[in-house]
């Protein structure tokens, strides 16, 4: 019942999403234009995505790597503990 309610609410929100490629949305601002216009000259990477995730937002990617490291550490703790008496 709760799941159905949540699903209906999510569907209602999804109807209100802006269409793909729409320019009149808050996320299309000077940041996106800056990346598209200058990332080639500022980072030297022809892949804009790579320029963003490893240069402009390198610290964020470092956090992502830390998440992976924590996940493996947790997994090793749980499974190593099970195989020991």
């Amino acid at each position: 019942m709760i799941l159905v309610l949540i699903g209906v609410a999510l569907l209602g929100v999804a109807v209100e999403l802006p269409p793909f490629g729409e320019r009149a949305v808050p996320s299309w601002n000077e940041v996106a234009r800056h990346y598209l216009d200058r990332s080639l000259n500022e980072t030297g990477a022809s892949s804009v995505v790579a320029g963003i995730i490893t240069d402009y937002r390198g610290f964020d990617t470092l956090g992502e790597v830390t998440v992976l490291f924590t996940a493996v550490t947790a997994l090793l703790v749980v499974l190593e503990g099970r195989s020991r008496p």
Partner: protein, 142 residues
């Protein structure tokens, strides 16, 4: 599992898959791809190898200790690389190397180095996850 078709196909496919993964990592700053995607493909090669030849064969080729070292090395490499920016008097993780000419393999400053670290890390993570979730007892204890 001991299957002739699987082993024969895997013998041909594993090097190609891993080469593809390495290429995706190496060209992460030139074309779509990067450390996360390439590392996953590289690990898929190891997973295919383990599925075809057994976990013991994987343990011989890639001991768990090596995977764990690669794991820590990839993360530490990323963090230490950030210090280079500080040493050059700029922000943490600043791109201090020259950008080079875009589109070439040697371009993008430290992006390629960061991508290599991420690829190593992700590949090691995937292999360790696979090995542990398969219940591999063959892994050596630390």
């Amino acid at each position: 599992m001991d299957d002739l078709i699987l082993r024969t196909v895997a013998r041909v496919l594993v090097p190609l898959v891993q080469l593809c993964g390495l290429a995706i990592i190496a060209y992460g700053h030139v074309s779509p791809g990067g450390g996360f995607a390439g590392g996953t493909v590289l690990a898929a090669g190891f997973v295919l190898y383990a599925l075809a030849f057994g976990q013991e064969a994987l343990d011989r080729r890639l001991p768990e200790r090596t995977a764990r070292t690669a794991e820590s090395l990839g993360a530490a490499w990323f963090a230490v690389l950030g210090l280079v920016g500080l040493a050059a008097g700029r922000n943490y993780l600043a791109n201090v190397l020259p950008p080079g000419s875009p589109g070439r393999l040697l371009s993008g400053g430290i992006i390629a180095l960061v991508t290599a670290g991420v690829g190593l890390k992700v590949a090691a993570t995937m292999v360790t996850l696979f090995r542990r979730l398969m219940g591999g007892e063959g892994g050596e204890r630390p």
